[in-house]
């Protein structure tokens, strides 16, 4: 796939990340629609790794958390601890409408709130689920590549 041109309006990336962002994905209660899109973002077609974004296995290795879904009661403490475990400077990407404002699950009995209610959010990606292009754009905004 040809590399889409970078729009002028995009931010030059976070300078402290030097063009590379290590991401730990946290499913805080997602329906797994966003996960399918993330899989395709890091798959061979969209291949986000060529822009310097990479999924890692532990928050200890990560620069940013990629949180999907509304934060459920079962995952609230886990999300807080995962955020605590990320070395500073750290960022949080709220991916999908549920992560931004609970989406269709707003007010459900098991939902604590949106990601922003639990941990500070730096980047938001809208959509239900967000298309891979949107996710790539958000990631490129962080890496600046």
């Amino acid at each position: 796939m040809a590399e889409p041109p970078m729009e002028r309006s995009m931010s030059p990336g976070k300078p402290e990340l030097s063009g590379s962002v290590q991401i730990r994905h946290v499913d805080a209660g997602s329906c797994n629609g966003c996960e399918v899109e993330i899989a395709s973002v890091f798959g061979p077609v969209y291949d986000a790794e060529r822009y310097g974004a990479r999924l890692v296995a532990s928050p200890r290795h990560a620069d940013a958390l990629l949180v999907t879904g509304p934060v459920t009661r079962n995952m609230e403490m886990a999300l807080r601890r995962t955020y605590e475990a990320v070395p500073e400077p750290r960022m949080v990407i709220a991916l999908g409408d549920c992560a931004r404002d609970c989406g269709v699950f707003a007010g459900a009995y098991g939902v604590v709130g949106a990601v922003g209610d639990v941990v500070p959010v730096d980047v938001e990606v809208s959509g239900c689920p967000p298309p891979p292009e949107a996710i790539i754009e958000a990631l490129r905004g962080m890496t600046g590549r």
């Binding site: 532990s58 928050p59 200890r60 403490m77 886990a78 601890r81 995962t82 475990a85």
Partner: protein, 660 residues
Amino acid sequence: MILYACALGLCLAAALLALLPPRAITVMAEVITALAGVVAAVAGVRATLGHGWSAWLPGLLPLGGLRLALDPLGGLFTAITGAVTVCAAIHGIGSGAARPARAVMPLFVAALLLVPAADSVSTFLFGWELMAMTSLLLVAAEHRDRPSVRKAALWYAVMTHLGLVTIMCGLCYLAAGATGDGFDQLRAAELSPAARDVIFLATLAGFAAKAGIVPLHVWLPRAYPAAPGHVSPLMSGAMVNMGVYGVVRVGLDLLRGGPVWWWWIVLALGALSALYGVLHAAMATDLKRLLGYSSTENMGLVLIGVGAAGFFAADGAGPLAALALTAALLHVVNHAAFKTLLFQAAGSVQRATGTRDLDALGGLRTRMPYTTALFAVGALCASALPPGNGFVSEWLLLQSLIHALPASGVAGAVTMPLAVGAIALTAGLAVATFVKAFGVGFLARPRSPGAERAVESPRTAVCGTALAAAACLLLALDPALVLPALTEAVTRVIPAGRPVTGEVTLRLSAITGSISPVLIALALAGAVAAVLSLVRVVAARRPRRPARLWDCGAGPVSARMEYTATSFAEPLQRVFVDALQPESAIDVTAVKESAYLVQRVRFRARVPDRVERRLYEPVLAAAERLGTQARRLADGSVHRYLSYGFYALTGVLIVLAVIS
């Protein structure tokens, strides 16, 4: 002479004192045993430095009388025994061992002192049997508390006495060909080559059994865990050495070397034991069993050195032979030091936690800080890494083998690289073994309530262990300290000058090579300090933030999440699956109503001793079958027994009549 007699006398006094009931006197017996150790060590050192002596006490034993002589070789082993005794006795002062065990231990020490000083076949065999009997009593001492001890004692009794039988046959055959049973007369004996072969092989079998050499090692990993805590250091630090002493004394001294193939056998047995021992040590989860297999490994390394020395001597390469034997004897000294230390620390751990199972230990670093630090020193030494003492002797051994190529012919060109490979693999696996023993056993969190309740051992036990650790460090930093004694002992059997010279830097005289343990240690300390300060500097640039231990965001980290000894060894077990042949069984119990609903799954995995399984169990099974069959002969009928007696007697008479 007087010192040696004092040491023996002190041992006997301690044995008598230990029988008396008051507790204060029992403690005094331990102190006297330690004193005997000091005196024996001094006597041994004096003998190695050229103050040898010999004595003949005709009335003390039937047949040849008690004939004693301490030459540098015997003196070296006496000194080792004495030093180990000091540590073991001090370590045992506070231990609650039973009175019989306390009384037998000084006798065991006396027997250990008697063997290297024996100067005639009858004295040697007397000392050897005394050593076997006393150690057997000590192994069986706790048979009331643990049923496994009885089985271990039975194995030990059979193996050690079979060894005694072969040694007795060999030495008596040798004495029959000489003018008397004194060692001087044996040295002068003129025997046919075939007779010498038989003598060497018979004695080698017996001595190998004592040294725990494969395939005669089976008693060793059983007896050490069975023996009381303060006895196993003495057994592994001093008694197994007697096997090496016997091989050197009979093979190189009394028989004055032999054909090359004798020493090939010794070398091959050594290499096999080293590899087999360390593999099973790496798999073991019982701390003392691990140390027992490690003894097999180290005695194997020593026998590689002894075999190479005999090989070179038979080949005419005297200086190389002297170097190999020096390396072997230095390894005996080093092994005695670190194995005493490790067994004492293991004894302390067992007393504090009530278990030897590594999978149930852990977390002792905060609870037993001194023992942990001392065990760490021992583990470093045993894994043959600089700056440990095992490194120096293994380096010397490797040097003698590597430089053998130009000296020996095709056989040497094939054998020696294989031996070098065996030693290298052994050293690598030993590191894994002791990382496991220390890391799983002492670090992390306690895996059982026993380990959680552990408290530091009494001061005497820590002192005894610290003494052994000090010996290890001294040997590691300044091996030149024992070189004069070793050189004297080696020159006694292979006269070829001084193989290793130097004070701070050891220089090999036969080949180009030098090593400086102190400088290596200093360089390592400097490197560690540099890395630590660099980390400090780099870390100081960023602000520090306390964070919770990462537990996947879930509940608290528990001891069940830790690496166990079994899981740590599992990758190695996979690599060596053909050699180890581990056994595992899965029992799935289904509920009554449906075979598809599982009620319980039980998984069992063990690594059996393959030699025991393949070699001993069939023999034992056959013996048992034979015994069952033979029981039919004894059906309780008196008439039948009388007829047995009658026919046996007439049969013997007929045979005698025919022969004469």
